[in-house]
């Protein structure tokens, strides 16, 4: 629910002209940042649980992931609007410019994850296969950070901060998963 607030503010800003002289560019930037931020937050859930033993991060993980996909889709729609919904221009961009290729691939990777976010999908796919599929989010987030880095003209500090956080989260998973996971199994947890 809270994740929809930025969308509401964005619409309000667009309505009141607060997006400035180039509203499409600003909306593109903002939805892109929202996508990446939400992806990072969803990736932070498991490390947070591993480090603290809290269970609530795991419960909001799916909502964060779906919100990330929602903003990613919005980001893409605004990009399409920016190019007058010209599929030719889009195809050329995707094929010829690594910056766009990375972003587009990241979004495509999120599609199957969003489609299999329901409880039924876990049952149908089996937990192991479902888990493996959803590991695509690691690649999507990394490509998202790369897309951000390549999209910036010069000030590379913010994209590097995102990349750094993502790398740190991967590291925590890598280091913590084994031991804590085993301990966790012995503990009474939520069903």
């Amino acid at each position: 629910m809270g994740g929809l607030l930025p969308a509401a503010v964005l619409i309000w800003d667009a309505y009141t002209g607060a997006l400035g002289a180039n509203p499409i560019q600003r909306a593109t930037l903002q939805t892109g940042l929202l996508t990446l931020t939400l992806l990072v937050l969803s990736l932070a859930c498991t490390p947070l649980r591993l480090l603290t033993g809290w269970t609530w991060p795991a419960r909001i993980r799916k909502a964060l992931g779906l919100l990330a996909f929602g903003y990613g889709a919005l980001h893409f729609l605004i990009y399409l609007l920016d190019h007058g919904f010209s599929l030719g221009a889009m195809t050329e961009d995707v094929l010829e410019r690594p910056f766009v290729t990375a972003g587009f691939t990241a979004l495509l990777l999120l599609v199957p994850l969003a489609l299999t976010s329901g409880r039924n999908s876990v049952k149908r796919l089996g937990f192991a296969r479902w888990t493996r599929l959803h590991q695509l989010v690691y690649l999507a987030a990394s490509l998202g950070a790369l897309h951000y880095y390549w999209g910036v003209k010069k000030d590379h500090v913010p994209p590097l901060i995102y990349a750094g956080i993502i790398a740190a989260l991967f590291l925590v998973r890598f280091l913590k998963r084994g031991p804590v996971g085993r301990r966790g199994r012995g503990r009474p947890g939520p069903a």
């Binding site: 809270g2 607030l5 180039n22 000030d155």
Partner: protein, 329 residues
């Protein structure tokens, strides 16, 4: 939390971990509502703080008016609709103030355009340091309504006030060795807070070949929309080279040096594969990371086709006869 549960009691522990347990339903409801509200506020608020970049506030058309007679459009003026003063002065790339486009309008108050002197040296017969008001008084002010195309893919139509660069160059009396003109912007972290970060090598340096500088389109602006140039637009003196990407049009100039060798320019140094010395607007040569075929005119939603040399090909293409503009981008 009036009665903390006994941590050693496994049943009590499970009761906390398991929602829907035999807690007081009213308390359970309040707890859930509080958690929900808290999460919504924290997530929404946090995302706002992390990602929102509000546009700059409205810039009043303030400042001193230049007194000048109305005049008909000149041979170099475009008849296209002029970008509003508000938009032209709140959407700026001026990394000396910060990398966000709203930074310049917000922070321009720290720039003090008077007193201001310009140092003129290098391959000239009369090197000197001149006060900006004196320099300005050497020439009658002219209007020029020029298109401006940013390398990022947006454009504006700007009504400048100033004088042709050629007049200034001739007055400086270049020596026979002069081949290029190098411009240097102010370096002062007190007036330019963005210079405290080293996103670029400060001070900002730009340059033109001498024949480019002598072209009648090359212009030195001291005003915009009939007003004295505001800080975010490059007060008190800036270059305007309308057939090149906007970053060539260096702002807040303190030094003009005529040189024998091609100057090292700021963006060409920062990313040589992306920004060249020439930086002529060219829809056929994409930036490595985005197309340059189209642009958005500020104030419009759609995109329009970008024209070679930003629509000034008839006037300036001859300057580059025989040059491979893919190589000399």
């Amino acid at each position: 939390m009036s009665t903390p549960p006994d941590k050693k009691d496994p049943v009590a522990e499970r009761r906390i971990l398991t929602p829907g347990s035999n807690l007081n339903p009213r308390r359970e409801f309040l707890r859930t509502a509080a958690l929900f509200t808290g999460t919504v506020a924290a997530l929404g608020g946090g995302l706002e703080v992390l990602t929102r970049r509000p546009g700059a506030g409205s810039a009043e058309a303030q400042g001193t008016d230049f007194v000048r007679p109305a005049r008909p459009l000149g041979p170099y003026d475009t008849q296209e609709a002029v970008t509003s003063y508000q938009q032209a002065t709140t959407y700026n790339n001026f990394y000396e103030f910060g990398t966000d486009k709203s930074d310049p309008a917000r922070l321009a108050g720290s720039l003090k355009p008077r007193p201001w002197t310009v140092r003129i040296d290098g391959e000239v017969k009369k090197p000197q340091t001149v006060d900006i008001d004196t320099l300005q008084s050497w020439f009658p002010l002219e209007d020029r309504i020029y298109r401006m195309r940013c390398v990022e893919g947006w454009s504006m139509v700007m009504p400048w006030l100033g004088f042709p660069l050629a007049g200034l160059i001739r007055r400086l009396e270049p020596t026979g060795k002069a081949k290029y003109v190098q411009f240097t912007a102010l370096l002062d972290t007190k007036q330019f807070p963005g210079q405290r970060s080293n996103v670029l090598d400060w001070p900002y340096v730009e340059g033109l070949r001498l024949d480019e500088a002598l072209h009648p389109l090359a212009f030195m602006a001291v005003g915009l929309h009939g007003k004295v140039l505001p800080g975010q637009s490059g007060a008190p003196l800036r270059l305007v080279v309308p057939w090149k990407y906007g970053f060539k049009s260096i702002k807040s100039i303190v030094k003009i040096t005529l040189t024998e060798k091609q100057p090292q320019t700021t963006w060409a140094l920062a990313a040589p594969g992306e920004y060249g010395f020439y930086a002529n607007v060219n829809p056929a040569v994409p930036h490595p990371r985005w197309s340059q075929a189209t642009e958005r005119r500020i104030g419009e939603l759609g995109r329009r086709k970008t024209l070679p040399f930003n629509g000034y090909a008839d006037q300036v293409a001859g300057l580059y006869a025989g040059m491979d503009l893919r190589k000399f981008f």
